[in-house]
């Protein structure tokens, strides 16, 4: 079963592009990463899926239900963590959690208590006195306490310290193991690489790559680091170039023979050629205008 399926999903704000003809499929039970820089259309996609904004074209289904006609039923089975959580002022965390459960007509008190303990969140604190990280924790409990089938997380770790991030991802992994689909939007690529099984890269409102994280990492581009002196001016396919202390490092997607010729003509004291990490691949995709590497 598909947890999310979008077909030519489009959202324009007047003349401004939000997303444009977005096609995306997330299978049930996946831990899916949704990668893109600010303004690429990640939040617009999520907000459209959740019914906060209406699509201007195309369509989408979440858990097999239409996002326009079956919005309420979708929200019953989805947990959403916004990038910046805002709560009603003067309420205590426990009241916010109770309100959230009440709006779902569920008693989630046992799960809420368990999650608060794991995330070290004091439910008696007032939400307007919480730090950004603690507000995030309260939002996490809101998103998880009703044990949804699909979790939609928009930049989930912002504000969380490394220990809390680890605990948070432990919780997500436990949920994923029992069948919860996790849809994680992020621009922190290491996060996606570490936790997700599949990922999609969005650029200017369109999906430019969607595959397993492993396959996305298997690109023909290589990270090349050369110690010594070489003239790279004749080489095509170089990007993300950095130079320091007779060391030059770059992402190379051109002809390997041409590279070897240039290296042979130079004075190389040391050389390393490695597979790039997801961050480099991301830059590669963005640099190439969205063509498959």
């Amino acid at each position: 079963m598909e947890a999310i399926r979008t077909e030519r999903l489009t959202k324009y704000y007047g003349k401004a592009r939000g997303i444009d003809g977005l096609d995306l499929t997330v299978e049930a039970g996946e831990f899916f990463g949704f990668i893109g820089p600010n303004g690429a259309g990640k939040s617009t996609t999520i907000r459209t899926l959740l019914g906060l904004i209406s699509p201007t074209g195309g369509g989408a289904k979440v858990l097999g239900m239409d996002i326009v006609r079956q919005k309420t039923e979708i929200l019953r089975r989805v947990g959403y963590l916004p990038s910046e959580a805002a709560f009603y002022p003067k309420m205590r965390v426990r009241d916010v959690l109770k309100l959230s459960a009440g709006l779902r007509q569920r008693d989630c008190s046992a799960e809420a208590r368990r999650l608060c303990e794991r995330l070290a969140l004091d439910p008696s604190r007032r939400v307007d006195e919480l730090s950004f990280g603690n507000r995030k924790k309260a939002a996490i409990v809101c998103a998880l306490q009703h044990e949804p089938e699909l979790l939609i997380l928009d930049e989930p770790t912002g504000g969380l310290d490394p220990l809390m991030q680890r605990e948070f991802f432990d919780i997500l992994r436990e949920r994923n193991e029992v069948g919860t689909t996790v849809f994680l939007s992020s621009h922190i690529l290491s996060e996606v690489q570490r936790h997700c099984t599949r990922a999609a890269i969005i650029r200017e409102g369109r999906i430019i790559a969607c595959d397993s994280v492993e396959a996305l990492s298997r690109t023909s581009a290589r990270r090349v680091t050369v110690h010594g002196s070489v003239d790279l001016s004749s080489l095509d396919g170089i990007r993300d170039r950095t130079e320091a202390d007779r060391t030059v490092s770059f992402l190379y997607s051109g002809e390997m023979g041409a590279l070897l010729q240039v290296l042979a003509d130079g004075q190389v004291s040391d050389l390393s050629v490695s597979e790039p990490d997801l961050e480099e691949i991301f830059l590669h995709y963005y640099g190439k205008g969205g063509e498959q590497a």
């Binding site: 959740l50 906060l52 209406s54 009603y88 709006l103 779902r104």
Partner: protein
């Protein structure tokens, strides 16, 4: 019910302050009546020399020396403005606050349809307006009894019913506006209540501006008309309720289709 309870809880401080303020001001006016009663001759001649303003407040047709005349003018000013301000503020911020304080994302990602959100919030506004009017009615009746005057039941019910309907109308119009705006709600709400109030004053002063009485809900709340006729202005109320229904319909139509940013 969760949403209505939540809304009532959120608005309780504002509700208590406005109810206490309007109730206290009405009670003070009533407690001043025995003292004022003896000085009415002088006051009457002062009012008579105020020209158009006497007509604007309906004082040319009311006996300020009787409790009914005195209360009708005081009630018109205190409950007319105080009640309308509360109804306007309560309603105009009801939906818009969610976007202004960025809590709309929290609320609308729960399994509650937009129509149910509108219904819940409207119910909470109307419940607060109703509760305020009931409490104030109780304070007024208690105060009149305390000064030893017979309670003018018919007048009190008619006046308070008219003001209640006026507040409902203003609340519903402001509620419709609330669905469309994201900020600036307080200024808009107070502005609407004040403009409607002054439209009625103008209608009372200038003959040519009489039709304005059918636009502003203060038209069917004119205390002098109610005291003199002993009835409410049916057509005026019908127009008012039609405007209220239009405000509510606008809220449903707009909010259920609105993009939440």
């Amino acid at each position: 019910m969760t949403l209505i309870r939540h809304e009532l809880k959120r608005g309780r401080i504002s509700f208590l302050i406005w109810t206490a303020a309007v109730g206290a001001m009405l009670a003070v006016c009533i407690f001043l009546f025995p003292e004022m009663k003896g000085e009415m001759e002088g006051i009457g001649s002062v009012f008579a020399s105020m020209g158009s303003f006497t007509a604007a407040f309906g004082m040319d047709r009311l006996d300020f020396g009787s409790l009914t005349g005195y209360y009708a003018v005081e009630c018109g000013n205190v409950l007319g403005l105080g009640g309308a301000f509360f109804a306007a503020l309560c309603a105009v911020s009801s939906l818009s606050t969610e976007e202004k304080e960025r809590t709309a994302e929290f609320l609308l990602t729960h399994p509650v349809s937009r129509a149910r959100v509108v219904t819940g919030k409207l119910a909470a506004v109307l419940l607060q307006v109703t509760a305020m009017n009931l409490i104030i009615c109780g304070i007024v009746i208690g105060s009149v009894t305390a000064i030893g005057e017979p309670v003018p039941w018919k007048l009190i019910w008619l006046l308070h019913l008219a003001y209640f309907l006026m507040q409902v109308e203003i609340a519903c119009i402001c509620f419709g506006i609330s669905a469309a705006i994201r900020k600036g709600s307080v200024g808009i709400g107070l502005g609407i209540a004040l403009v409607l109030y002054f439209l009625n004053l103008i209608a009372n002063i200038a003959e040519a501006a009489k039709p304005l009485k059918y636009i502003t809900p203060y038209g069917y709340c004119d205390a002098a008309d109610i005291v003199v006729s002993g009835t409410l202005d049916g057509p005026g109320i019908a127009v008012g309720m039609a405007l209220a229904a239009a405000g509510v319909a606008a809220a449903y139509l707009h909010y259920t289709r609105k993009d939440i940013r």
